[in-house]
Symmetry: none
Subunit: 193 residues, 4 copies
DNA sequence: GATGAATGAGGATTCATTCAT
DNA sequence: TATGAATGAATCCTCATTCAT
């Protein structure tokens, strides 16, 4: 095994990233200092720089892997075919699955999106989110064309509504509460009894 | 006129607050420096402290007046009576109206809520939001009881879904696009065609 | 007088710059910390940033004003006309005069030139030095053409030889030792008896 | 062979030193990190400390061997006898030869001299340079006594002028351009045609 | 010998706030 | 009231060096 020696490095790196993730989610990215992360990781602040170039790298990596996974999951859903409502159902399920796994990333993205989007360094996040929005919009548009979805509701509003709803849900959800199903049902059929 | 001297003071104060509002909305609370606000207001940074104790006072005042107005509006809606769907319709309308008027406050609250909620200084904001959430939940619960709203959907999820959806909408909405109506229709009747 | 209020600011600024100048000359640019400068100026380190954007601004301003003065002086010398040896004599005199007045700048430029030239931020210094070198080279070339200066000696070597010689002289010279005259004589007529 | 084991050690040590030399010359001593040297040498940063106690040892060794060689060469020149102009000619030749061989050391000494001279650790470099300066001064003084060199030019100024001129030349010289001869000619006979 | 993770003091810089004028 | 210079703690980051493996 060639990773006999690399494993500890990788494990430490992941451990630090996990600590950062939690602190960012809990206190916010900017309110978390590099020293906070180091302290909580049991290393000195200088040592963090063995693993990460900068504080920005930490959040970037955390958000990128979330968006990576999300994008892949969404593409798979779309590639699977099916009509718009069914696709939408699977998109919502994928979204909840991703946000449950990357809870911290979802929360951080939710509250830092606006700020990060202003920094050139994070332009790629914006691009990725645009791709995702485009993907959802296309599905909804298709549903409007076939008459399975209502034509009078803007697809971009719907997507952002969903995106933020899911992120917000992540803040207080506990797994296995059937949240995704409730959410989907609300989205498709509305609140009316 | 007794306000011959107080008026300029008050006008200046409001002007500064308005500038801060916009900057906070545009760049975020923490990314905006006191000096930025002073510069954009045409006063010196030291002078701000004649009007406001601290930077926190600025955001507090801005968020408080937003939440004040929102709470009053919601209370009025509820006091007006009517069944749950109708009440909900008026709540959504009130929410959109408030967020359109206090756009910056809506945005800032959206992205700073989690951070501010951790500070004792802003505990009262949390209380106010809890009151608001309670108010919405009660309306939805009543709808569930009468059978006009679906019993299988959690009222807290629904509320937060709505709250965040509206805030997010504020970021890109332009007035008079019928957003509130679309949103309400989506909420009550769902996306299905 | 409109500068009744600006004067103190300007005076302080100049005082800080003078302190930085001396410390840079004495210990080198990089070995001098911002705190060193602040301490020696009797202010706190944060206060320096009222006057200067950055440590780089400090050295930039100091070197720029030296090169400004040098360039102007050299241009005047050349504009005055005269044959090459006479022009060279006046160039040497101007160089010594400038380096005596901007002793610290001469020393710092001498030892930091190579390092600073690598930073994009200081590209303009390189350009200015190139103009100066071009100016000297042209004079020497002219002398070679008229036969008043030896044709077998490279003008660029000569210029750099002179430039560094003068800077080095600045480190140990005391005013009014006739250094410039000696230097010029050595340059034109050589060491041979 | 007893050096079967020592040779690699020595070879490695020299290789690291050579890399450090080049990096110091290219970016400057302080701007070069120990890790830069390790990376460029193909070893890990910790491994450097098997060969060198510290970063200072690296520069010390590099400058010392340059000054060693220079001192020996100069002593030989002086020991050879001959009149002052001839001795000076051989000194200049020796200087150019040394600086061509130890180009990096020449450059580094040129720009770090002032800084290093302040550190007790490098006091011995100062002493060595003083010996060298003394040696040159003596030769020039002798020439003044015999009338072969001009009596009106300070020998210390001349020496430093030469020292810095040669170092500066090293930065842009390419071998075999007859630079040494030009330089010597300029020094002895001046620029006048 | 070699590794490379860990150290920790120290660097430049930021910024909300204060206060003498 | 208004100024704006001054504060000083806090931030992110660097880097020569050490040491257990």
């Amino acid at each position: 095994m060639r990773n006999r020696e690399k494993a500890p490095y990788h494990a430490r790196r992941e451990a630090v990233l996990a600590v950062a993730r939690d602190l960012f989610a809990e206190r916010g990215y900017r309110a978390t200092t590099v020293r906070d992360i180091a302290d909580a990781s049991g290393v000195l602040s200088g040592s963090l720089y063995h693993y990460f170039d900068s504080k920005e790298t930490l959040i970037d990596e955390m958000l990128s892997s979330y968006l990576d996974e999300l994008t892949i999951a969404y593409r798979n859903v779309v590639a699977q075919g099916g009509d718009a409502p069914a696709t939408l159902a699977r998109l919502v399920a994928a979204a909840f699955a991703a946000v449950e796994k990357h809870r911290a990333a979802g929360l951080v993205l939710h509250s830092e999106r606006h700020h990060l989007a202003r920094l050139p360094r994070f332009a790629h996040l914006v691009e990725r989110e645009e791709e995702i929005e485009h993907l959802w919009s296309t599905v909804i548009e298709r549903g409007k064309t076939t008459g399975q979805l209502r034509p009078d509701i803007d697809e971009h509003m719907t997507y952002r509504f969903v995106r933020d709803g899911i992120c917000a849900a992540a803040r207080w959800s506990r797994p296995a509460t059937g949240l995704a199903e409730q959410f989907l049902s609300l989205l498709l059929d509305g609140l009316r009894g």
